[in-house]
Amino acid sequence: MHVAELTPWRAALAERSRAQSTAAQGVYIHVPYCASRCGYCDFNTYTPGEIDVESHAYLLAAAAEIDHARSLWRPGHIDTVFIGGGTPTLLSATDLTDLLRRVDDSFGLADDAEVTVEANPDSVDQHVLDQLREGGFTRISFGVQSLAPHVLAVLDRTHSPGRSLEAIAMAQAAGFEHVSADIIYATPGETDDDLAHTVSALLHTGIDHLSAYALIVEPGTRLANDVRRGLIPAPDDDVAADRYQIIDRLCAASGLSWYEISSWAKSGGECRHNLGYWRGGDWWAVGPGAHGHRDGLRWMNAKHPRAYTERIWADGDAVVETEIISQAAIDMERVMLGLRLREGLAVGAVTPDKQDQIDLEVAAGLLVRVQDRIVLTDAGRLLADGIVGRLTS
C-alpha cells in the first residue's frame, strides 16, 4: 500500500483525533449481502451469486480497513460494536468473530462492550449462535418483520413465522444477554390482530428489546412499483398511527417501555450502540456504504462492494463523501435526534427564538416539560417531524 495523500477527510479527522473524545465510541460494520432482496428494501445490499467467493474479498478489505483505521482513529476504547446489513449471518460465525477480534486488536474493546449482530431467522442455527456468543457477541437482533404469513409474503420475506420464534429461543439458549426483534407494521394486508399477535408472541419469548418500523414505500423498490401499478394498496398513515399505539400498549404491558420513537426495551435492554447515534456519539464505519461520524465530521464509504474493495486496496480507506456539519445543522440534528428519545432534549438545545414554540407544543399536547428537558407525549411521538420543524430555524 502506498502512502496515502492527505485528503480533506483525513485532515478533518486528524484534527478531531488530537484530543480524546468524551462521547461514546462505537464501530459499525456493514455486511452488504442478502440471500435475496426483499421488495420493500432500499438498503445497500447485494445478492451475490456465490457468497463464499464474494465475501472473501469483502472480508479481506474490511479487515484491511480496520487495520488502517488504527492510525487515524484513537477512540481510547470501544463501547459498542454493531454488525448490520444486509444479512451479517450470511457470513460464517468464524468470519464474524474474526472481524470482531480485529476491532479489538485495533482499538481495544471496553470490558463491558455491547456487541450486536443482526440476523435473519433463516440464516442461523444453534451451532452458529453458540459460536457467536462464545466469540464475544452479547446481543442479537432478529429481522422478524411479522409472524403473519400473508404479511411476510407481501414483504417478500422467505422465513416461516415459526422460524423466528425458534431462532429467538436458540439465541436465548446460546446465552445471549440481549435479544431483540425488528418488526414492520402497517404493511398492506396486515390487520390489527395480525400485528397484536406478532407483538404478543414475540414479547412472550422474553426478548428484552423490540424495534418497530412503519412500512415506508421507498422510491425505486419493487414495492413502490407494485403500489404505483395498483397491485398493492399504499400503506395508510392513520392505520400506521393506530398500529403504533397497539405496539406501544402491548410493550408497556410486558415491561418494555419506549426509549426511542421506534424502540422499546426492558430496563437495561436499551441498545447502547443506537443510543450513541441519537446522543451525538462517535462511530467508525467499516464496509461498503457505511457512514462514520466524529465530532461534526461525517463520511460515507463507497457503496458497491467492488468499488469499496478497490478503494481500500488503493487508498487504505474507501471514503467517497465527506460532510463537515455546520453549527446550524449540528443544532438541528441535536433537536431532531434528542427529541426521539424518552430522556428528551435539554430545553437549552432549542434556540432562544424558538423557546415560545415549546409552550405552544406543550399546549397542543405534543410535548411535556420534565424538569429542564422536553419530552414527546404519546401523540407527539407520532408527529415528531413537524415538532422538530417548528422548534428549529
Binding site: 438541528m332 431532531m336 408527529l383
Partner: protein
C-alpha cells in the same frame, strides 16, 4: 407601376381573405406575393406576413397586415392589389369588421373540408359591408378532398352557382393566377372624393419598438401627406405625420396616400390607444367634420386575475403588461391582491383567445411564470336601493340585499355534421342556452343558433363542444346585450376563512355542483394539518357543501440510525423550505401548488 399617392383609384383592388385557421389563408397570401412578383422565390419564407412567433406557430393572425401588390393583368394594364389580412378569431370580430370595411371585395377561402362557424360569421360581416365575395375552394390537391360537395355547400351559402366557385391549391399554386384575375375583374374599384377633406379609416395599429405606433389606414377621401398635421376624430388628438408609406412587402415611405389606397402612418406616438382601430384620421387643417362611422371603444368581456408564481416577479409582470398595452388597445388591467395568490393584476380581455394570447406572450416574451384565476364575465348587480354595482371579480360581489343580477349573453353559432345535433343541443341546454334556430347548410351539415350566457362559454364550453363532436363542431359568437339571471356567489371557506381565489359567480342551479367539486378537489390537494380542517362551500352564510381534511396523526416513524441522519436532516430542511412557500389561509397552511392545481383544473380556456 403606379406610385403610392399617384395611383388612379380605378386601378386599385382592395380585398381581404376570409378563412378559418388551417384553411390555407397564409399559404394563399404567400402564393400571391410570388405570383405578383413582390417577393421572389429566393426571399420567400412560409407565412411571410405573419409577424409574431405565436401567429406562425398557431397558424392564426392576431394583428392584421396590409400588403400592396402591384400587378400587371392579362389585359396588359398595371393594377394595384391591396391584400388586407384579417385577424382570425372570434375575439377580434370588431377588428375584422374594420379590416373588411377597408375593402371592396373578399375572397371566401374554404378548404375542401367544409366551412367553419367563424368563417361564416366573417362572411356575414363581409356581406353587411357590401363586399364582393369571391368563393374559393382550397386544398383540392388533397386525396380526401370532395370539391364538388363543398363547392355546392359554398354556393348554397352565398347564393351562387357551384360553377362560380374557384378551385385552387394554395400549396401547389394551381388556380392562383386565375384567382388574381378574378379579383381584378370582380372586385369594384374604390370610390371617393379625391378633392374633399381627407378621411382615412384606421383598421389596425401596431407598436414597433423602433418606430413607435405604426397605424394602418385605408384612405376613403382626399389625401394624407407626409409632414402634415392630422387629427384623430374620436379623441381629437393631433399629431404630425412623420412618415406615410405602403407595405410591399417591406415598408416603403412615400409622399402621400390618395383615395382608395392602403398604407401606414407614423406619428411618433408610443401607445396604440392614441391610434384606435375604427377611428377616422383627417387633416388638422380644414379637416373633415363627419367621421366615417362604425367606431367603437374596445370593451373587455372576460376578466381573469394574473399572478406571478414567484411573488418577487410582480414588478416584472407590471412592466410586461405596460409594454403589451402599447400594442393592445383592448387590454385593461389594474392591481389586485389575493389572500391566496398574493399581488397580481385583474385583467380584462376581449375574449378567451385574447386572454390566452396575452398570457402566452407574457410567459414567452417576458419569461414569466403565471397563474391565472378562472375567467369570469362582467356582472351588473342591482341592489334593493336601486344602486348598481359592476362586478369584474367575484370578490366585488355585494353582500347586501340584491334585487337582480344581470350577465352578458352572446348569440352563438355552431356548425357541425348533422349527426351531432343531439349532443350539441344537450350541451347548450346544460349551459342555459336558448335555441334560436337551426338550418341545414347541406345535407349533412347543420347550423345551430343559440343565445347563451357568456359566462357559460368562458367555462370550458369549447372543449366540451369539441369533445362531444369528435372535434368537428366549430363555434362563433357575438355579444348580444345582457339578461337577468338567478346568479349567486359561491365562496369556498377553509377552516371558516374564505379563499378569494376560489369564489365564483354561478347560476343557482349549479352552485351546489361547483361547491362539491371544489371542496372535494381541495381536500385532495391540501395536506393534513395538526387540526381538523373543514372545507365549506357557502352562498352568503348558507353552507351548501362540506368536506373535511382530517387532522394529521403521523408524520414520522421511519428509522433513524447512523447512516440516516444526514438524509433525514436534509429532508426536514427541505420540508421547512417548502413551508416557507406555503400560503396561510387563516391557520391553514396551503402549498401554492394546491392553488395552482385547483385553479388549473377548473380553468379550461377554450383552445382555438
Amino acid at each position: 407601376m403606379p406610385l403610392p399617392g399617384q395611383t388612379d383609384p380605378a386601378m386599385i383592388r382592395n380585398f381581404s381573405i376570409i378563412a378559418h385557421i388551417d384553411h390555407g389563408k397564409s399559404t394563399l397570401a404567400d402564393r400571391m406575393l410570388q405570383v405578383t412578383g413582390v417577393v421572389d422565390g429566393r426571399h420567400m419564407r412560409a407565412q411571410y406576413l405573419d409577424r409574431m412567433d405565436i401567429e406562425r406557430e398557431r397558424g392564426i393572425t392576431i394583428k392584421s397586415q396590409a400588403v400592396r401588390l402591384p400587378y400587371t393583368g392579362l389585359d396588359g394594364r398595371d393594377y394595384v392589389l391591396n391584400l388586407i389580412d384579417t385577424p382570425g378569431h372570434v375575439d377580434f370580430t370588431y377588428e375584422v369588421s374594420r379590416s373588411l370595411a377597408a375593402c371592396e371585395g373578399a375572397v371566401l377561402l374554404v378548404a375542401a373540408q367544409g366551412i367553419e362557424a367563424q368563417t361564416l360569421a366573417n362572411l356575414y360581416l363581409a356581406l353587411e359591408n357590401d363586399l364582393q365575395v369571391i368563393p374559393v375552394l382550397n386544398k383540392i390537391d388533397l386525396p380526401a378532398a370532395q370539391p364538388e360537395k363543398y363547392a355546392a355547400e359554398l354556393a348554397h351559402i352565398i347564393g351562387c352557382s357551384p360553377e362560380d366557385v374557384l378551385k385552387i391549391s394554395a400549396k401547389t399554386g394551381a388556380g392562383v393566377p386565375e384567382l388574381i384575375e378574378e379579383i381584378v375583374a370582380l372586385v369594384p374599384a374604390p370610390m371617393g372624393d379625391a378633392d374633399g377633406p381627407a378621411r382615412a379609416l384606421i383598421f389596425d395599429s401596431v407598436y414597433d419598438s423602433y418606430r413607435g405606433v405604426v397605424t394602418y389606414v385605408r384612405v376613403i377621401d382626399g389625401q394624407l401627406s407626409t409632414r402634415e398635421r392630422i387629427t384623430m376624430m374620436s379623441t381629437h388628438a393631433t399629431h404630425d405625420l412623420l412618415e406615410v408609406g405602403v407595405i410591399s412587402p417591406d415598408p416603403v415611405a412615400s409622399l402621400s396616400l390618395g383615395v382608395g389606397e392602403v398604407g401606414y402612418l407614423i406619428t411618433g406616438v408610443k401607445d396604440v390607444r392614441q391610434s384606435r382601430v375604427g377611428d377616422t384620421v383627417t387633416s388638422h387643417h380644414r379637416g373633415a367634420t363627419t367621421a366615417l362611422g362604425g367606431y367603437r371603444d374596445p370593451k373587455p368581456m372576460v376578466f381573469s386575475g394574473l399572478y406571478p408564481l414567484d411573488g418577487s416577479d410582480y414588478p416584472l409582470l407590471r412592466d410586461a403588461l405596460d409594454k403589451l398595452k402599447l400594442n393592445d388597445a383592448a387590454l385593461v388591467y389594474e392591481p389586485e391582491t389575493s389572500v391566496a395568490l398574493g399581488f397580481g393584476f385583474r385583467c380584462g380581455f376581449l375574449g378567451l383567445l385574447h386572454l390566452e394570447i396575452v398570457r402566452e406572450r407574457l410567459e414567452r416574451e417576458f419569461n414569466l411564470d403565471l397563474i391565472s384565476t378562472a375567467p369570469n364575465v362582467v356582472y351588473d348587480v342591482t341592489l334593493d336601493d336601486a344602486s348598481v354595482v359592476t362586478v369584474t371579480n367575484p370578490s366585488e360581489f355585494p353582500t347586501g340585499k340584491i334585487a337582480t343580477v344581470s350577465e352578458p349573453v352572446v348569440r352563438a353559432t355552431v356548425l357541425a355534421p348533422a349527426e351531432f345535433v343531439g349532443a350539441i343541443m344537450e350541451l347548450c341546454q346544460t349551459r342555459r342556452g336558448t335555441l334560436l334556430g337551426m338550418d341545414y347548410l347541406s345535407e349533412d351539415r347543420v347550423e345551430l343558433r343559440y343565445t347563451l350566457p357568456l359566462a357559460e362559454i368562458v367555462f370550458d364550453f369549447f372543449d366540451q363542444l369539441k369533445s362531444r363532436t369528435k372535434g368537428y363542431a366549430s363555434l362563433d359568437y357575438e355579444t348580444q346585450g345582457d339578461q337577468v339571471a338567478d346568479l349567486v356567489k359561491v365562496d369556498i371557506l377553509l377552516h371558516g376563512d374564505p379563499v378569494d381565489a376560489f369564489s365564483a359567480i354561478v347560476h343557482k342551479d349549479k352552485a351546489y355542483a361547483y361547491g362539491v367539486s371544489m371542496a372535494g378537489k381541495l381536500r385532495e390537494l391540501i395536506p393534513r394539518q395538526q387540526f381538523e380542517v373543514p372545507i365549506q362551500a357557502a352562498i352568503g352564510s348558507r353552507i351548501i357543501a362540506r368536506e373535511t381534511i382530517r387532522a394529521i396523526r403521523k408524520d414520522v416513524l421511519a428509522k433513524c440510525y447512523g447512516g440516516d441522519i444526514s438524509r433525514k436532516r436534509k429532508l426536514l430542511e427541505k420540508q421547512k423550505e417548502g413551508k416557507k412557500r406555503m400560503k396561510m389561509v387563516g391557520r391553514v397552511e396551503v402549498p401554492q401548488e394546491a392553488f395552482i392545481a385547483a385553479l388549473s383544473t377548473t380553468e379550461a380556456v377554450a383552445k382555438k
